[in-house]
């Protein structure tokens, strides 16, 4: 798997950029509002969603190990996670964390095919679980590939690069 590495925003039209930024904003809002099923509709059938493990290392290129993962999901795996959340007995998310996903620094570049675009974005998730008196922040950068379809953009791949090496939130029960 090669990671999309957007080179900048100049290569795509403003309307493409706007469509992509709107897609990311919509995704974030659906997840913040607990509308996972609507979010799921935005996933391509051939989705690959990964969170590689990161360590403090030198040189910097050695920090991210793209053969070891906190999570490496296909669409069915994501479906499984959503099914579990929907049971009401996935106790790390009962009640669901209150979240606010802030997406920014969006860069869009042409993908490897005419129907594909590559996107890099920064994401900061504010999370407050259940009756926790405190909040957790989950900072990351995402390398996404989106596909144009007749129904709009769909997420084909997402690589989440966590900013932290050791997470300060106790689990990844929320989607990034």
């Amino acid at each position: 798997m090669s990671a999309p590495t957007p080179t900048g925003t100049t290569a795509v039209d403003a309307d493409v950029y706007t469509a992509v930024a709107t897609f990311l904003a919509r995704e974030a809002r659906l997840l913040d509002e607990g509308r996972e099923e609507e979010w799921f509709e935005l996933l391509a059938d051939d989705l690959l969603y990964t969170i590689p493990i990161r360590q403090a290392a030198e040189p910097r290129t050695a920090e991210i190990n793209r053969s070891a993962f906190r999570l490496r999901d296909n669409k069915m795996n994501v479906r499984t996670r959503l099914n579990r959340l929907a049971t009401g007995h996935a106790y790390s998310e009962v009640p669901p964390s209150r979240t606010m996903r802030l997406v920014g620094s969006v860069e869009v570049s042409p993908g490897p095919g005419p129907d594909l675009v590559d996107v890099s974005s920064a994401l900061l998730v504010y999370r407050q679980r259940g009756i926790d008196p405190h909040f957790d922040l989950i900072p990351c950068r995402r390398n996404d590939r989106l596909r144009w379809t007749g129904e709009g953009l769909r997420l084909v791949s997402r690589e989440v690069i966590l900013t932290e090496t050791s997470l300060l939130t106790p689990n990844l029960g929320v989607l990034l």
Binding site: R70, S166, L167, L168
Partner: protein, 459 residues
């Protein structure tokens, strides 16, 4: 973390709380305070983590000369290195000059560690080999051994699992592990080449006490149908209710405890070797195992276990919801961070003989269940956060609240040791009774009460 004010950890009189623990344990009860108390935590760091064999790395993480990983023994950061001779060194990560940390990464490969402050340089054996401006600054070379990085006095490994002790005064590793070493041999010795890590550890911090995680993995089969019932509801787990009935707990002494499952009885007679599929099972070569080990791995393989103080594992069949399943093996270490805080370090393990694709599948499915994003483990982390809150509760403390470990006392189930058992330790024929958890805490108390704490200054 992320709090606006630092938590004020309660602090008890240590002798008082240990005496209450002793009284409580005589009645299968535990005082809540031990799960969040700075006096207890400090004593644990000194008496347990400072004086026991503690897991630091697996040899497959540092296969080549110069490889190193940074790890922890209790609160102490240590560098685990593979030197030019192939030897393994466990070194303090504090410069002898002013304490700057000479290793600033989690892993890498280097023959030397050069301190960034004044430039003292240490070989990966710990020896001091360079001091800038030697003649003008010091006149003559400093003794490289005397001024080397502190070295863990005892380092040994078992099946590639490297353990170190910060105290020289410990029994040999094999004696310390006892029956747990025998069971570890069986777990990872199904093939002579053994297992390797699939990658670096998945790390995450939980506001829970390290003992809660260790006791859970010692054999808390009782929580599974309730806390993890969602997995059965969606069809990626089955038979969770049967754990009590088919549990086969082992107490190995020194606080080590494992929980087997009578797989071939509970699932079906062909469900041997934890249900490993033929493409894995066909590689197994049990010639290195004794008769009882062969029996256990064939029929009753352990699903979880804890090697005191803080190394645990999970092995079991796992489904990923997309039609794939694997028998996964995860070793995990519960790093003590504070009185009510731990950091989980979780490694997926795969067989050395597996090809890349097969290893990746097992590791990925392992992560889908056990790890920061694991659909099983997510829920444990939240359940475990209760104990430190209870322990800090002024009301609970005033009431001298105790946790209940009396499960087996009036149970109708026969929990007596299996008299036909010919392997090490004590084996029972039911998962009910919380005997493994009590075994863990009884050993914890023994170590905490041991009078020989010569290394401590203030007691």
């Amino acid at each position: 973390m992320n709090e606006t004010t630092a938590p004020a950890w309660p602090r008890s009189d240590l002798d008082d709380i240990l005496a209450r623990t002793e009284t409580g344990l005589a009645d299968d009860l535990l005082p809540v305070e031990i799960f969040n108390d700075s006096a207890v935590f400090q004593a644990e760091v000194e008496r347990i983590f400072g004086r026991s064999w503690v897991f630091v790395a697996h040899e497959s993480e540092i296969p080549n000369p110069g490889d190193f990983v940074q790890r922890r023994i209790g609160l102490d950061p240590v560098i685990v290195t593979r030197d030019g001779e192939g030897g393994i060194n466990v070194l303090s990560n504090y410069c002898r000059h002013r304490g700057t940390q000479v290793c600033q990464t989690d892993q890498g490969n280097s023959r030397f560690f050069k301190c960034n402050y004044h430039g003292w340089t240490y070989a990966n054996t710990g020896e001091l080999v360079g001091t800038p401006f030697l003649r003008r600054a010091y006149g003559e070379p400093l003794d490289g051994k005397e001024w080397g990085l502190l070295r863990a006095p005892r380092v040994d490994s078992r099946h590639g699992f490297v353990f170190a002790s910060l105290s020289a005064d410990v029994e040999p590793l094999g004696d310390y592990l006892g029956g747990a070493g025998w069971m570890l041999d069986a777990l990872v010795g199904l093939h002579p080449d053994g297992m390797r890590v699939a990658g670096p550890p998945d790390r995450y911090q939980v506001k829970a006490n390290w003992k809660t995680a260790a006791e859970n993995f010692a054999g808390d089969i009782y929580h599974v149908p309730n806390l993890h019932g969602s997995m059965q509801e969606i069809g990626i787990a089955g038979g969770l209710d049967a754990g009590g009935e088919f549990g086969r707990p082992y107490e190995f002494g020194n606080g080590h405890a494992f929980m087997g499952i009578a797989w071939t009885t509970a699932v079906h007679p062909g469900f041997e070797f934890w249900g490993y599929p033929p493409e894995i099972k066909d590689h197994f070569d049990l010639s290195g195992l004794d008769e009882m080990q062969v029996h256990v791995v064939t029929h009753d393989g352990p699903i979880v276990g804890t090697i005191f103080p803080n190394l645990s594992f999970y092995r079991g069949i796992a489904m990923d919801g997309s039609g794939l399943s694997s028998v996964i093996t995860s070793f995990r270490q519960w790093q003590p961070v504070g009185p009510g805080e731990l950091e989980v370090w979780s490694w997926q393990f795969v067989w050395t003989f597996q090809d890349e694709q097969s290893a990746l599948q097992d590791a990925v499915i392992g992560q889908m269940q056990f790890g920061s994003a694991g659909v099983a483990e997510q829920d444990d982390t939240v359940a475990w956060e209760g104990a430190p809150r209870a322990a800090a509760s002024p009301w609970a403390r005033r009431e001298r609240m105790m946790f209940h470990f009396q499960q087996g006392n009036k149970s109708e189930v026969d929990q007596s040791p299996d008299l036909t058992w010919k392997g090490p330790g004590i084996r029972r024929l039911t998962g009910f009774g919380e005997h493994n958890q009590l075994h863990f805490y009884r050993h914890w108390l023994r170590v905490m009460q041991a009078r020989d704490h010569s290394a401590e200054g203030d007691r």
